[in-house]
Amino acid sequence: MKTVAFRKDVQEQLERIQQADIVVGIPSFNNARTIGHVVRAIQAGIAKYFPDRKCVLVNSDGGSVDDTLEIVRRTSIEDYASIHLHHRVEPMFKIATPYSGIPGKGSAFRTIFEVAEALDAKVCVVVDSDLRSITPEWIELLVKPVLEDGYDYAAPLYHRHKYDGTITNSIVYPLTRALYGKRVRQPIGGDFGFSGKLAKFYLTKDVWQTDVARFGIDIWMTTTAIANRYKVTQSFLGAKIHDAKDPSADLSAMLYQVVGATFELMETYDDIWKPVRGSEPVTTFGFEYTVGLEQVNVNTGRMLNIFREGLKNLSKIWTDILGAGDFGEVERLGALQDRNFRFPPGLWTRVIYDYAITFHKKKLPKEHLIKSLTPLYLGRTASFIMEVEQMGQEEVEGEIEKLCTEFEYNKEYLVTSWK
């Protein structure tokens, strides 16, 4: 497996550091506004919970034109007493370097894994650079299960607004859970802790020229850990609040990368997921509490417009994928008025399974196939938003649980159609 060639200064730093217990990685691209807070939270977390461990912070940057790298280099906690720290604190090493390869989060992670391997780290943690809600406790919750409890992979568990994370709630979580039988609630959460052994294993895989190098990295890490029988857990981290998202981010491109990576993994691990039936919970660390979340504005009318445009224009493609029966059901949904629009979970499950089967049979170019899912996804999302409008967080989780049950119940259809 070809490795990343470090820049000379990074190589020298690695030679100076020699070995580390914990490597904390932050992928970034123009995050000057928020990365200072993330670096401080990490420093405080390490100082507070792992004062006697040798730690390295790695910022793997995608060529930021703002001061991201400079902010990482100069940010430090001036007054440890302010966070009630009076014991001796080991100095924290910092490496801030641009990554090489396809621009994307996955390529940034690859550099972090390489650093972890070079330093023979026991634990590696990765956190997003645009987090506003990260606290020092996140570091404890992502490191300790691996360092002290023998787990290989700690996925995050957040409280998010009921309308947020819809790709996770309606596709990735139910599908991953039904396939591999583990209830990892946020398989594409973005903030993970994992063992040095698992980081080395990730590096043995030749995926860095695929969509894994972009948004697909999160689902790839989680699935690879589960499918290869690494010990997986999850840690409750509280609320996840990001910096304002990029308004130009293209939903269908995101959907393509995440769902494409999930379907690719189904190809790789079909001998693992086929025999699995039902699912089991994974151990959860952390003290769960209710958090106040920011208001999320939604425009279901626009979503339903795109769904109906899809119905009008993509009927041939959808019929080829879904078959006449399920397409007929989707067609009936198009005739409903906005306020009565409901996309049944059973139908949605079959839609996702049919897309997975079509992907497997290579009936259409991958990008066309998955991007043609966008109007259906928006239809399902609009329906979900209207259904849960008056519901509290627990009831919403109940609805997601019902969808997951549908995915598990219909799995036989997927297995028998997968030839």
Partner: protein
């Protein structure tokens, strides 16, 4: 009397002598034809079996080749159709080789012209196949992207693009085959230019109301989009 007989016999002897020289060529042609037809049949059978072994029919289904054949009212399996094309290409080749064995000047010239034209036919077929696949791919990509952006006339846009690409490809094919290249170029320019002018006129003059409705609809859509949407999909 002898002179008279010679007058009759000489042409006959000449014909016989020519026939004697021609006979081996004729025999050679017949042998080439019969052996060629036999070889073509065997090669067709081998090719069809090979295509079936590599599941060419399923691949054709996936790539839309079968649909294309059905559209052309061709109902044979893609592997058999390809086998037939291969067989008849070999037969034409064998026929030309056989005819050239006759060593008749006029036929030799015809065969030479045929072989000189073959590369053009091959490149024209290649342009047609690649062009068809490319036009379908681009048109579908545009359709999906336009739908995902909520554009109302997605299908119209995609089909218009497919039509333009098809015209362009057909013009390229005819130009490659050197079928009245001047006329093809003129026709292509007229059709392309005509489409652009027709669009300009329909939008600018004849379809003022339609254009107005479209713009109003797009504006209304834009206002709807402007309604704040903070949802985080990931």
């Amino acid at each position: 009397m002898t002179d008279f007989l010679n007058l009759i016999l000489e042409p006959l002897q000449e014909v016989f002598a020519k026939f004697r020289t021609f006979m081996p060529n004729l025999l050679a042609m017949l042998v080439i034809l019969s052996m060629g037809i036999l070889a073509a049949r065997v090669l067709r059978a081998v090719l069809v079996r090979f295509l079936m072994a590599i599941k060419f029919d399923s691949w054709s289904d996936r790539m839309g080749v079968t649909t294309l054949l059905r559209k052309g009212d061709l109902w044979a399996k893609p592997s058999l159709a390809l086998g037939a094309i291969f067989f008849w290409s070999l037969i034409i080749l064998v026929l030309m080789t056989g005819l050239s064995a006759l060593k008749v000047h006029a036929i030799d010239q015809l065969v030479e012209q045929f072989f000189l034209y073959l590369p053009r036919v091959f490149s024209a077929v290649l342009i047609l196949i690649i062009g068809y696949v490319f036009a379908g791919f681009v048109s579908r990509a545009v359709l999906i992207a336009a739908v995902n952006s909520g554009y109302h006339y997605a299908k119209l846009l995609a089909e218009a693009l497919r039509l333009l690409l098809t015209i362009l490809i057909l013009a390229m094919v005819l130009e490659q085959l050197q079928v009245a290249p001047g006329i093809v170029l003129a026709a292509f320019s007229i059709v392309f230019g005509g489409i652009v002018i027709a669009l300009a006129i329909s939008f600018g003059v004849a379809g003022i109301d339609a254009a107005k409705r479209m713009i109003e609809r797009e504006t209304a859509e834009k206002h709807a989009k402007d309604t704040k949407d903070d949802i985080e999909h990931l």
